[in-house]
C-alpha cells in the first residue's frame, strides 16, 4: 500500500520536474541565442518578468491573454485524450467569435442577460460543430484529423473574411472592416472585484469540469481507453465514434467560447483582431501541460504572460514582436523532446517492492 502511494508521488514529481526542467533549459537556450545576437539575456528576462507579472496592470494584461489560451488549449487537450491531434482551434475560435457577434447584433433590444447567454451558446455551437467535423471525417472517412482541422481553419478564416468584409460589414467601419457592434449593454463585464473579464472565469470552470470529466467519470475512463488503444476499446464494446465525437464537440465548444468571449468582452464586434493566433498558442499550452486540463491553467498564465511582455521588449529594447514566439518555439521543442526522459530518471522510478 505504502509503496503504491510512493510510486504515485514519484510519478507526480516526475510530471512536474521534467517539464519545469525543460522550460528552464529553453530559457538557457534562448538566452544563449539572444546573447549571440548581442543582447543581454538577463535584461530580457527581467523585462519579460516586468511585462508579465510585476504589477497589477501587467497581471491584468497577462490574465486577459491567458483566458482565450485556456479555452483553445482545451480544444487540443480534449481530443488528445481520445488520441486525436486536432490543431484547428483557431478556426473554431474565429467562427465562434463571428457567430457571437451576429447573435449579439440580431438580438439587440432583448434583455442583456439572455443576449449574453445566446452569444456564448452560438459561439460554442459553431466551434463544436467545426471541430466535430474533423472528428467525424476521421471516424467515418479515415481523413487524418490533424490535416483536416488545419485545412478547416484556413476555410474558416476565409469564411470569416468573406462575411466581415461583405454581407455582415458594418458600413460605418471604414478602415477596419467589422461587423456591427453588439451594444454596450450586451458587453460581458469583469469578474467581481477584479479588472479581468469573465473569460478567465469560464476558462477556470471549463478546465476543472474537464479535469473531473476525464479523470473521474465513466465517460472519461472510456475516452482514455479509446485514446490508449482504439482496437481494444472497440473489442470491449465501447462506442468509439460517439466517444471521439463528444470529445471533439467539447473541445470545439471551448474554442468557440473563446472567440465569443473575445467579441463579447474585448472587441464588441468581429474583425481581424480576432485572428490573433490564440488557436496556435493554445497548441503550445496544451502540449506543455501534457494535455492535462488542470495543468493548462498555470501554463496558460505563463504563455499569456510571455505574450503580454512582447510589447515591453519591443518598446524598451527595440526587439521584434516575434521575440516571444522564438522563446515559445524553443520551449515547445524542448518540452516535446523531454518526453523521452519519462521513466528513465532513477529518482522517479518506483522502488521495487
Amino acid at each position: 500500500m505504502a509503496s503504491a502511494r510512493d510510486g504515485q508521488w514519484r510519478q507526480a514529481a516526475e510530471a512536474l520536474v521534467i517539464p519545469v526542467a525543460a522550460l528552464a533549459a529553453a530559457m538557457v537556450v534562448f538566452g544563449v541565442f539572444m546573447a549571440a545576437l548581442g543582447q543581454n539575456p538577463l535584461e530580457i528576462y527581467t523585462l519579460i518578468y516586468q511585462g508579465a507579472f510585476a504589477s497589477a496592470f501587467s497581471w491584468q494584461n497577462t490574465l486577459a491573454r491567458a483566458a482565450p489560451l485556456v479555452l483553445t488549449a482545451l480544444c487540443v487537450a480534449l481530443p488528445a485524450q481520445a488520441g486525436l491531434m486536432v490543431i484547428g482551434g483557431e478556426g473554431a475560435l474565429v467562427l465562434g467569435g463571428l457567430a457571437a457577434a451576429v447573435a449579439g447584433h440580431l438580438l439587440s433590444g432583448v434583455a442583456p442577460a439572455s443576449v449574453k447567454v445566446a452569444m456564448a451558446l452560438a459561439g460554442m455551437a459553431i466551434g463544436a460543430a467545426w471541430i466535430a467535423l474533423s472528428g467525424a471525417l476521421r471516424q467515418y472517412r479515415g481523413v487524418n484529423e490533424t490535416i483536416s482541422s488545419l485545412l478547416l481553419t484556413y476555410i474558416a478564416v476565409a469564411l470569416f473574411n468573406h462575411f466581415v468584409e461583405g454581407p455582415l460589414r458594418d458600413p460605418a467601419s471604414l478602415n477596419k472592416p467589422s461587423t456591427a457592434h453588439i451594444g454596450d449593454a450586451n458587453m460581458l463585464g469583469n469578474l467581481p472585484g477584479l479588472d479581468i473579464h469573465w473569460g478567465l472565469g469560464f476558462g477556470v470552470v471549463f478546465c476543472v469540469a474537464m479535469y473531473v470529466l476525464t479523470r473521474h467519470t465513466t465517460y472519461g475512463f472510456a475516452l482514455r481507453i479509446v485514446g490508449g488503444n482504439p482496437r481494444a476499446a472497440r473489442l470491449a464494446g465501447l462506442p468509439v465514434t460517439p466517444i471521439v465525437l463528444a470529445a471533439c464537440l467539447l473541445g470545439g465548444g471551448a474554442a468557440g467560447l473563446a472567440g465569443a468571449v473575445e467579441v463579447a468582452a474585448v472587441h464588441g464586434r468581429a474583425n481581424a483582431s480576432l485572428i490573433a493566433g490564440y488557436g496556435y498558442a493554445g497548441i503550445v499550452v496544451a502540449f506543455i501541460a501534457r494535455q492535462n486540463p488542470l495543468a493548462i491553467l498555470p501554463v496558460a498564465v505563463l504563455v499569456g504572460g510571455l505574450s503580454a511582455s512582447g510589447g515591453m521588449l519591443q518598446r524598451r529594447l527595440d526587439l521584434p514582436d516575434a521575440t516571444v514566439l522564438v522563446l515559445q518555439g524553443i520551449a515547445f521543442m524542448l518540452i516535446l523532446g523531454s518526453e523521452a526522459l519519462y521513466g528513465r530518471l532513477k529518482p522517479f522510478r518506483p522502488r521495487a517492492a
Partner: protein, 306 residues
C-alpha cells in the same frame, strides 16, 4: 490591348498555376522524400517561411538571388535535421515535433527577418516562354521561373531514383518496414533523419521562391499555408513524385482562381475563392481516404495510417 473577356479566366488560372505551383512542388517533393522514409514532417510550413526569409536576406546581402536560394535550402536542411534528430528520441511523436517546428520556424523567421521587410533584394528573373504570342495575357502567363523547370526535372528524377537507385530503395524499405530494414543491416533512424533533412532542403528552396520571385518580397504574411498543404498534397499524389507535380499545378490553379475571376470583374466572393485550394484539398482527401483500408502506395510505417 486585346480584350479577352471570359477567356481571361482560364489563361489567368494557367499562368497562376505555373506561378503559384512552384513552392507547392518543392515542398511536396520534400515531404514525399520524408514520408517515403516513414515520417511525417508537419513543420515544413516553418521551414518554408524560414527559407523565404533567409533566401531574401542572403540575396539582399550578396546581390545574387541564386545564393539566396542556396541559403534557403541550407536553412531548411538545418531545420529538417532538427526534426529528424528530435524524432529519433524514444516516444517523441513526429506530428507533434512538426507542429513545434512550424511555430519555431515561423517565430525565428519573423524575428530574424524584421530588418528585411523594407529593403528591396534582387529577385530571380523569369524565362519568357510566351514570347511567340502577341497577347500580353499569354505572355504574362508563360513567364516561367527556372525553379519551376528545376522542380519538374527533380520530380522526374526522384520518381526514377525511388525505383532504380540504391538509396531510393533503401528509403522506401525503411518507410515500408523498419523491421525488414533493420534485418538488412540499415540504420533506420539515420536514413529517416537524412530523408527529413533532404525534405527540409527542398522546402527551404520552395520558400525562397516566395520571397525571391512571386510575390517577390519578404513579409510576415508571405506564406498562406503551402507548407501544411504539402502534407495533404503528398497524400493526394499517393507518394508519387510525378503526381506531386500534377497536384501542385492543380493547387496552384485553385489558388489563382480568385485573382483571375477578379481580373474579369467578378469581385463578389473574393474571399471565398481564397478558400478554394483548402477546400479542394479537403474534398480530395474526403474522396480518396477510407477508414477500412490504407491508401495504395502509402508507406507502411507512416503514423497517419495507423
Amino acid at each position: 490591348m486585346i480584350e479577352l473577356g471570359w477567356w481571361g479566366v482560364p489563361i489567368g488560372v494557367l499562368g497562376g498555376a505555373i506561378r503559384v505551383s512552384t513552392p507547392f512542388l518543392f515542398v511536396s517533393l520534400g515531404e514525399c522524400i520524408t514520408e517515403r522514409s516513414g515520417r511525417i514532417n508537419l513543420g515544413l510550413e516553418g521551414i518554408l517561411v524560414m527559407g523565404a526569409m533567409s533566401g531574401y536576406a542572403v540575396s539582399y546581402a550578396s546581390g545574387n538571388p541564386w545564393l539566396g536560394v542556396l541559403a534557403a535550402g541550407g536553412a531548411g536542411l538545418a531545420l529538417g535535421l532538427l526534426h529528424g534528430l528530435a524524432c529519433n528520441l524514444p516516444r517523441v511523436n513526429d506530428i507533434a515535433v512538426g507542429i513545434g517546428l512550424m511555430l519555431l520556424g515561423t517565430g525565428l523567421a519573423f524575428f530574424l527577418g524584421k530588418p528585411y521587410v523594407q529593403p528591396k533584394a534582387p529577385t530571380l528573373s523569369a524565362i519568357p516562354l510566351g514570347a511567340w504570342s502577341d497577347s500580353p495575357h499569354i505572355r504574362a502567363a508563360l513567364q516561367v521561373n527556372p525553379l519551376f523547370l528545376i522542380g519538374l526535372a527533380l520530380a522526374l528524377g526522384l520518381a526514377w531514383a525511388f525505383r532504380n537507385t540504391r538509396w531510393g530503395l533503401v528509403i522506401r524499405m525503411v518507410g515500408d518496414s523498419s523491421d525488414a530494414a533493420r534485418a538488412m543491416g540499415y540504420a533506420v533512424a539515420r536514413v529517416r533523419t537524412l530523408s527529413t533533412a533532404a525534405g527540409g532542403f527542398l522546402a527551404g528552396v520552395g520558400g525562397s521562391f516566395l520571397s525571391l520571385y512571386y510575390p517577390g518580397s519578404w513579409s510576415e504574411g508571405l506564406s498562406s499555408g503551402q507548407g501544411l498543404m504539402a502534407v495533404a498534397l503528398v497524400i493526394f499524389a499517393r507518394w508519387n513524385p510525378i503526381q506531386c507535380f500534377y497536384a501542385a499545378l492543380l493547387f496552384g490553379g485553385a489558388g489563382a482562381l480568385g485573382p483571375a475571376l477578379q481580373s474579369v470583374g467578378v469581385t463578389s466572393g473574393y474571399y471565398l475563392f481564397n478558400a478554394a485550394p483548402y477546400a479542394v484539398t479537403l474534398g480530395i482527401m474526403i474522396a480518396t481516404c477510407s477508414p477500412r483500408r490504407t491508401l495504395t502506395g502509402a508507406p507502411g510505417e507512416l503514423s497517419i495510417n495507423r
